[in-house]
């Protein structure tokens, strides 16, 4: 029988301190029973001789020094796992909240997971078609990749994420899709939006949801992505599903981490975030991938809202250093009702180069996307120039670039939230927009491809081409 420790010696924010404890391990879970019989869970976060510091997930309100007894479980935080989790809804700490009772577990795993050995990884190569041109054409999503959406408050990142979930498929596919959805500190409306969306797409039976709402305890928020990724790893590497993990909003997660860190009295680093923010984020993002010999895959699409739309803020900054690229949404495009508001220049998919082109998508894909990037970068220069000297004063070539920019945004980037474009459609549209530019401006495409795909009259097929 395990010992019940009666009483607490200190309460400080979400933390309680117990004295006179022995035989307790770092990171161990405990159950805290209050006088009225209410139960809370906690975790050991620091051990100092016989003194244990415990974080209480549900918060410490209502706790007093006397009326409490604490029992240590002898185990780290574990999540019960089973195939039955598909279609279920859990809270941030992995407890079912859909009223359907507990999950009968096949096994239980430590939610912190362990690092995948780099030699056991399989390098991701099969691309996932999202049906969104700006992603498929310019920043292709690859199975096993972690590709975040960098957004800002009020932009339509949820719609983009939902569209990816609904339309994602892999060419020549084997194996089944599953979706793990982790909501961290989101509003109820947002969670409802996703739930409705999954339902409309008839996907609810393939979704596992972990919901930590904005009003839920922050410590639970720190557990949410870990629970979600543990479930994802189980579905992928044990059951063989191709799992797409949507995590929103990573900014709330980092804020929770900062709040927790400061309550522990840790030395803050940049903008008050703890110095281990990079390692902490990496321990989540690096759980994406494929394993040699295992059938499934974990692909992550985390969503984060950049505070003040600032891409150099520590959260997007550190995220960008860990993830394999990013999809950046743009305020101006969003405000001019351009959907999806994906700004292609800062967006990037690092794994794209090995998953597109001959044998994967189409031979002209790498050259075309390079050319679109490079030409669109010149559009920005031309626009900046036009802002200073006026459009009329621009050279003929620069005027053509302005026209190309407009056509590119209106035809290539813009699409409907339920429009699912094939990769051929995407690439054709790309070539059509390029046809406004003279061929000698296309310095990223070699002559053979240019002859084969460049059509001078391609422009006539486009919206707003007159």
């Amino acid at each position: 029988m395990r010992i019940n420790y009666i009483g607490i010696s200190e309460i400080n924010g979400p933390l309680i301190v117990l004295d006179g404890v022995s035989g307790v391990g770092y990171d161990e879970m405990c159950e805290i029973t209050m006088g009225a019989g209410q139960r809370r869970t906690g975790r050991v976060i620091e051990l100092d001789g016989e003194r244990a510091v415990i974080q209480v997930f549900e918060g410490t309100h209502g706790l007093s020094l006397e009326n409490v007894s604490t029992r240590f479980t002898g185990r780290p935080m574990e999540l019960p796992l089973s195939k039955e989790m598909l279609g279920r809804v859990f809270d941030g700490a992995g407890n079912p909240i859909d009223g359907l009772g507990a999950v009968f577990p096949q096994e239980a795993r430590n939610i912190n997971g362990s690092a995948i050995n780099p030699v056991s990884r399989k390098y991701p190569r099969s691309c996932i078609y999202t049906g969104i041109s700006a992603i498929d054409g310019m920043s292709t999503l690859i199975r096993g990749q972690k590709l975040p959406i960098f957004s800002g408050a009020g932009m339509r990142h949820n719609e983009v994420a939902a569209q990816i979930v609904k339309q994602a498929r892999v060419s020549g596919d084997d194996g089944e899709f599953a979706i793990v959805f982790a909501a961290m500190g989101v509003k109820n409306d947002t969670a409802d939006f996703f739930r409705r969306d999954f339902e409309e797409a008839g996907a609810l039976q393939r979704v596992v949801m972990f919901l930590n709402m904005a009003s839920d305890p922050i410590l639970e928020r720190i557990l949410t992505p870990r629970c979600a990724l543990t479930a994802a790893e189980y579905l992928a590497f044990t059951l063989g599903y191709h799992v797409l993990v949507i995590m929103t909003d990573m900014t709330s997660y980092c804020e929770a981490l900062r709040e927790f860190s400061s309550s522990k009295g840790e030395i803050p680093s940049r903008k008050g975030y703890p110095s281990y923010l990079y390692s902490d984020l990496a321990s989540l993002y690096e759980r994406a991938g494929m394993i040699e010999g295992a059938p499934g895959s974990v692909t992550q699409v985390p969503v984060l809202t950049m505070p003040n739309d600032d891409i150099t803020h520590p959260i997007p900054d550190l995220t960008g250093y860990i993830t394999e690229g990013q999809i950046v949404l743009d305020r101006e495009m969003d405000q001019s009702k351009l959907y999806p508001p994906i700004t292609v220049l800062p967006s990037l998919s690092r794994l794209m180069k090995d998953g597109i082109g001959k044998g994967f998508t189409r031979e002209d894909h790498p050259a075309l996307s390079n050319q679109l990037f490079s030409s669109y970068a010149k559009v920005q220069e031309a626009r900046a120039l036009a802002g200073v000297i006026g459009e009329d004063e621009l050279s003929e070539t620069d005027k053509k670039y302005l026209r190309f920019g407009k056509l590119f945004e209106e035809n290539f980037v813009r699409q409907e939230p339920d429009e699912n474009r094939s990769i051929d459609q995407t690439l054709e549209t790309g070539w059509q927009t390029l046809s406004v530019l003279p061929p000698d401006e296309l310095d990223r495409v070699d002559a053979v491809l240019l002859r084969k795909y460049y059509k001078e009259d391609g422009i006539n097929a486009l919206r707003g081409s007159i």
Partner: protein
Amino acid sequence: MPYEIYSVNGPVVTARGASSLAMMESVRVGGDSLMGEVVSVRGEDTVIQVYEDTAGLRPGDPVLGTGGALSVELGPGLLHNIFDGVLRPLRALEGASGAFMARGVNIGALDTEKLWDVKVLLKEGDVVAPGTVYAECKETELITHRCVSQTAGTVTSVKPGGAFTITEPLAEIKDARGKTHTLTLRQTWPIRTPRPVKNRLPINRPLITGQRVIDTLFPVAKGGCAAIPGPFGAGKTITQHQLAKWSDADIIVYLGCGERGNEMTQVLEEFSGLLDPRSGKPLLDRTVLLANTSNMPVAAREASVYTGMTVAEYYRDMGYHVAIMADSTSRWAEALREIAGRLEEMPAEEGFPAYLPSRLAEFYERAGYMVTLSGAEGSVTVIGAVSPQGGDFSEPVTQNTKRFVRTFWALDRQLAYARHFPAINWITSYSEYIDDLEPWYRETFGDQFSALRTRVSRLLLEESKLMEIVKLIGADILPDDQKLVIEAARIIRLGFLQQNAYHDTDTYVPIEKQKGMMEIYLYFYDAAKPIVDRNIPIAQLRDTGITDALIRIKYDVPNDNIALLDDYRGKIDGAVRSVLEANL
């Protein structure tokens, strides 16, 4: 009395015992014997950083000292292999614990079963000194492994050559005090101690990388240090990969420090398939890979740069030119910060510990062109990637690194957005080695090379000044001779500075072709002058298609037939003549 754990806080564990352990001593912590290292000793408390996840450790668990500093095992079998930050072989770890890393698996770096065909270079009665090469074996097809003695003495017994494992004795020597040492293929070395050398030599040879912007404009010397800072997505990793693949070092130590797991998988896959352009052998035959990905324990990340450096020095001491690529040193600095935070040390700038500059200096100063103890020449070149927060070069890691490196390849976000790769900004980058390397270039190419380089960088500089004006008032307003500068610089940017890492011909360019290309581009600039002198718009020259042809030289002229470059002089002359004639 044994030592016991007293407190646990993340990767930092405090132990108590009768007397303290030694500073920097390597220890085994808890029932799982996790690897750790003593980082501070205060009274009865000994503070230990643990290289593995500390979950489950309890106060009262045992802590065992190993009696020595954190050391790694060195010997044949390092090449063609991949290790974690404290040199545990990842393939063997996979065999022991599967695809996910387990804790407390203590496996030596080297395979103890494998037999090596050893030539023993000693005979009885020989006097051995530190630096004596006592045995040799073929480690890979490319590299002969030389065992260099770390001790002195007289040989008392010796085995004839033949097949040996790394643990079998090759010879025994007796030192001056009469103590017997056994020589095997395996040695150990404490990672934080630089390996001794006879003396340093002045730096005078470039590390040829096959990357035009590096070899020509911002070269790094063998034995020198270079830093590649850049925001995410600017191509630090690709540049490091390119250097690891193509530079003319004998040995590459590639250190993935706190970076992505998939990247290391990619390096492993790609390097296995690629052949070294000089020897035609697989690149992995000369490469040691160290992977401590971002989700592996942070303390091991801190140790990994020293591990990598020790391996590099070990091969240098055999007389090889070694290049170590550290991607990324910022992650290492962050590991320092994280551990310093856990130790509750007083933070200096941006939360980094105050000793950050001295740690950086210690690391970079282990580079150099040396005469080894055995009398051979060897070098360690360090190329460190830096990941500045928010892409802001004024942050402490970039600024302090700048003080200890002499080549600085500044990656530029704007260039990367425009898909100009490698995105090395030619205005803000620099190399202090140019003057040191001057004699080498003169010997190899005569005076021309530096003259060409100077003219090219002047043209680029002038262009960047003109572009300021163009941004304000547009290109049309410029006089024709300045338009020519812009056109020539454009050709150099697109044709010369941009290099396609994924193109078979362009990924590696011999330095002779680099020189030839510069000559052609400057020839174009000179040849086009009569056109602007006669106030003919430079656009007419562009319409002849000559500029496009010049930009495509990198693809159209094969690396093994650079004589074809000479044809371009005729083409340029022809184009200029046709423009002049059309305007008669």
